[in-house]
Amino acid sequence: MESKAVLLRRWLINFTNRALRRLGFFPFTLFYVVLNAALKVVQLRRGHIFVRVGEVTGEATSLPRSVMLWLDRVLTGPPGYQFDVCLRLPREAADANLHDVFSVLLTSPRFRSVGLYWDASSLADDLTLLQAKQGRNNPTVWATSYEDLGSLSFKQLQEFFQSNHEGIVLPVAVTRDAQTLLKRQAGGAYAVCLNLPGELRSLADTVAVARPDVRFFDLAPALPTTKAANSQSLYGYGLNLHERMALVQAADAYVGSFDEVGCAALVSGRPAILLGGGTGEQPDRISRGEISLWFPDPAATPEFTESVLQFLSRQLGPGGNR
């Protein structure tokens, strides 16, 4: 229970802040800057600051997914905790996906600021204003908050697959548009998002033929190959990452790569079959309750196809309209 003095002080600060913000000219803006900077200094001294630092070394080929897993892991804590997130990036990137990385960062409900750095000294300099004093002096805190995002291990994927998630927040208009698209295209039928890797493209045709009662929406970045009437390629729709994530969250199930879109399906609790991410030494399938199934190293075999169809039957029913 906070004392009256604390509540009064907080009210006074908020009131002053609001008043100064309305008076948007000098010298009130200077008072506003100084007051806010002082607030931040107090927070730093009290340790009410949480910063997470990720570093990308070498050529990270699926950085948006790595960042998504990392945020899910490190931005945790009691409700209301907010974080400053810093990413140290290589100047020469392996893929042109920095925009997707930024989009992933924006989906976190807990970020307060995001910093992208192409220079180690600049990052170190800024951390002195982001990290609480005891954090700077405590190597344990530092060690746990600084992570290499350059490579993603099977173990990290498995932990993400099995853990509970706080969820992501997408812009309301994006969510609305995804639901509208599915309403218009699928009506009352089940809607399943496909996002199959190239070597498993034939599965798109097979499941579409086997489940004529379901509308399939293909997100894969490749030209459409299926001619089934109940399957529709969204490749040419020009959807950005938020829009693709919203679509898999609005659909009834997801079958596709364990990439950032697959992660979005998983964190939103949609029935999902995730494909890839293994090295050939893992079990051929890993399940999480009834709702998620992961094939780390899938091959286009009849058994695999049958597994996918069985999963869809379990989640959506054996066939016919719902």
Partner: protein, 348 residues
């Protein structure tokens, strides 16, 4: 393919012209502040701001740029854009983000939506006497000159060159690959036809260009110059369906790409043609050959160019300003003139 490789070589040189790229971690930084409570969410304004940063950095002898994008959640948009609110600003900044990656000496970019954090950083930079754009005094008065070319022209007059923008960080090599894969050594023209009526946030519709004239121009140009490929740039809603039926056309957005890819493709294109708008600002500030049409006359004092003049003060013979509404004949005439000039230069 010769033209492509020569284009790549020239880009590599122009990427750092006038600016010292930081190769080590040391650097004297220029501070850029884009506070959306008084600065608009707009492609052209973001690019003009970045160009002002480049110019200010070069003038101050800085070899790095630290950018601060500031969003105050209680006031996420400026008075120019009252439709921006807490529920849609994320989409808007997400769509605009690649525009802030176009400085070749960008060292860090921070998006801060918590005022105490930003203001502590700001005070630190002020105490360190770091050069800033906008200047600290302007920021305190919530003023940002996001339109005029006053500083840019002054720098050019004094030094005889400009520190140009480059492809967004991380997208240049991708654009080179795209040209190799999809353009096959053809003469690439990046095209943006302003269509505010089709955009998600319609504004200033009087600045829109006549679509039928552009479509006819592309048809005629493709017939007369089959070696030309047109890249249609702009948001997914902003081009007309008829574009799909035009010859020699690729639409990057319909291929799954976004603004970062488009800006990089524009940077690597042989020529830009389009209405006075955001993409035209990119062409202007990355020193491409261009034709910019339908320039508003009221823009003249801001850019210090008399109405009707053919070039910016820093422009050359390949960089044409056209102040009237374009017709297909005008477009074809300019295209053929610049096509010959650019082809001639790359051959020589």
């Amino acid at each position: 393919m010769n033209s492509v490789s020569s284009n790549e070589n020239s880009q590599a040189m122009s990427d750092t012209q006038g600016l010292v790229r930081t190769s080590s971690d040391a650097g004297k930084p220029m501070i850029g502040i884009y506070d959306f409570s008084y600065g608009p969410y707009a492609l052209g304004d973001a690019l003009t701001w970045t160009m002002n940063l480049n110019v200010s950095a070069a003038a101050a002898g800085c070899d790095a740029i630290d950018q601060y994008l500031v969003i105050d959640l209680s006031r996420p948009g400026s008075r120019y854009q009252p439709f921006v609110n807490q529920h849609n600003y994320v989409s808007i900044i997400d769509n605009l983000f690649p525009a802030f990656l176009c400085s070749p000496i960008l060292r860090s970019l921070k998006l801060i939506r918590y005022p105490p954090t930003f203001n502590l950083f700001l005070l630190r930079e002020v105490v360190r006497r770091r050069p800033m754009w906008p200047p600290f005094s302007s920021h305190l008065n919530r003023k940002l000159d996001f339109i005029s070319h006053r500083r840019i022209n002054a720098f050019y007059r004094k030094h005889g060159y400009l520190p140009w923008l480059t492809a967004p960080r991380g997208y240049g090599a991708w654009a080179d690959g795209f040209r190799r894969t999809h353009c096959g050594g053809r003469f690439v023209v990046a095209v943006n036809i302003r269509q505010g009526t089709l955009s998600l946030t319609p504004a200033n519709l009087f600045r829109d260009s006549p679509l039928p004239e552009w479509h006819s121009f592309i048809r005629r140009a493709a017939t007369r110059h089959p070696d030309v490929l047109f890249l249609i740039l702009g948001g997914y809603t902003e081009w007309d369906r008829e574009v799909y039926c035009l010859p020699n056309v690729l639409i990057p957005r319909a291929m799954g790409f976004g603004l970062g890819h488009e800006l990089a493709l524009l940077h690597r294109a042989d020529l830009f043609m389009g209405s006075s708008s955001g993409f035209a600002a990119m062409a202007t500030f990355c020193n491409k050959p261009y034709v910019i049409t339908n320039i508003q006359h009221l823009f003249s004092p801001y850019i210090d160019v008399p109405v009707g003049a053919r070039q910016y003060p820093f422009g050359n013979e390949n960089q044409v300003l056209y102040w009237e509404t374009e017709t297909q004949d005008v477009l074809l005439e300019f295209f053929e003139e610049l096509h010959a000039l650019v082809r001639g230069k790359s051959a020589s």
